[in-house]
């Protein structure tokens, strides 16, 4: 009987977001929802 091919396993950990990701996300939210929607410089003057 033909043997099933053997392949390497990929193991998985249970890591979480590091602390600096949360800071980056908050900066991004403040920029995107509170600053970004407004035109700092009006288009074409």
């Amino acid at each position: 009987m033909k043997q099933a091919p053997q392949f390497k396993e990929i193991h998985e950990g249970n890591g979480t977001f590091p602390w600096w990701v949360w800071i980056a996300v908050w900066i991004w939210i403040v920029y995107a929802f509170f600053l970004g929607p407004f035109h700092w410089f009006p288009p074409q003057g």
Binding site: V21, I29, F33, P37, F41
Partner: protein, 472 residues
Amino acid sequence: MDNRAIKLWFFSSLCWLALGPLIGLVQSFQFLWPQAMDVFSDWMLPYSKLRILHTNTVILGWLVMMFISATLYIVPRLCKVELKNASLAYAAGWVWNLAMALDVILIWAGIPGHPLLSIQPYEYAEAPLYCDLLIVLSVVMVIFSVHHTVLKRTQPKLYVSVWYLLGGLYTTAITYLVGNFLVLGFSGLGNQVLESWWLHNAVGLIITPPGLGIAYYVIPLAAQRPLYSHSLSILGFWALMAFYPGTGLHHFLQMPMPTWINEFAVISSVLLAIPVLAVTVNFLATPRGNWKRAVESFPLRFAVLGAVYYLLTCIQGPFQATSAVNWFIHFTEWVQAHAHLALTGAFSCFGMAIAFFMFPRVTGRQLYSRALASWTFWLMAVIFPLFYLGFTHSGLVTAISVNVLSNTIYETLSAVWLARFFRTLMGAGVVLGFLLFAWLIARSLRAGKPFEEGMNETPETPQPVKLGEVAA
């Protein structure tokens, strides 16, 4: 294992890679010396056609074909079963090549007014309908083979790469049908909404899922470390599928479009931060504790470089989609620079990573030259960022000239020439990198030493000889 299908898709993608970037280089010459390059118009290849040939061959030829080759390689290995209907996947490769060859010929011929053979007026979807039909047929054949393989798996748990690769085939089929067929049934605003949906999702739902699936496969295996986080991998997949489809309409922020559609597109783009952070944290944290593997393993080097470019492009993309920035950079080469950061930077690096990983395992040959592999890597790591910066600089000069100084088009073209010249110089370096890469693989078929699992993909670094050993 039957590797015929993998090899066909693999080597076909390399052929298209040898063509696509070169066309881009010719286009950049046309920007610099338009009159001298008029000779291409004499051969029925004006800029407008070369642009179509460039994007079609790079996206559908190089990237998608390499990613389908990778799908046919990775999915059976993760499912611990042979590829089912391998002949169908093999035949699909020829159908796809036929579609691409016809695409190139028909775009060159430029037949007007024919329902099946004319160039379509939609960006990235210019392929004539006849080619589109062949491509859809090919994708359906590949889906049948890959999905059948997943259903017959002996490994009950589906690793995240399988989610991305199988999901990516389905999103490819759906996106392609919308962008090439459904769009034809609408006129006016609806036509433009569907066009922009397709335009961005050609990258987001056709290129991105397999690209990420490949990196999820290569990084842990090449770094010889467990994946950093199972839960982040699942979060990244579902957040991508939830938020990406809505982003496309940010391409039309500066055009007449209902505000709610624009806002929906911008918010979707902003929310992309979630999958992007989940994915890149996972990629960059996985090799921790074993970074020395990056010295020996070219697949790891390219995958990590691709992850860095992916992070950068996904920070830039949502940023430029916000109103505060978009009005300034829209209609400039900043946007094309961004597209190159994604496709030439991130996803080509993922493609090269899996090519370096697969080649020895599929052909039984090592890559024959470590020095040549190093050249391709450093051209992508050093010259590509300069090319990207030159491209972006060109866009910023245009934006300042038009939006701030209100210059005429002639003044703007003069102002931007030097930036474009730098872009061409660096772009030539990137094209050289791709050609060296294709040559390295093709030459290794004959010159590569026999490869066995456990060996490096390239010959090992020669160890320095110690004086004491010489004396002994």
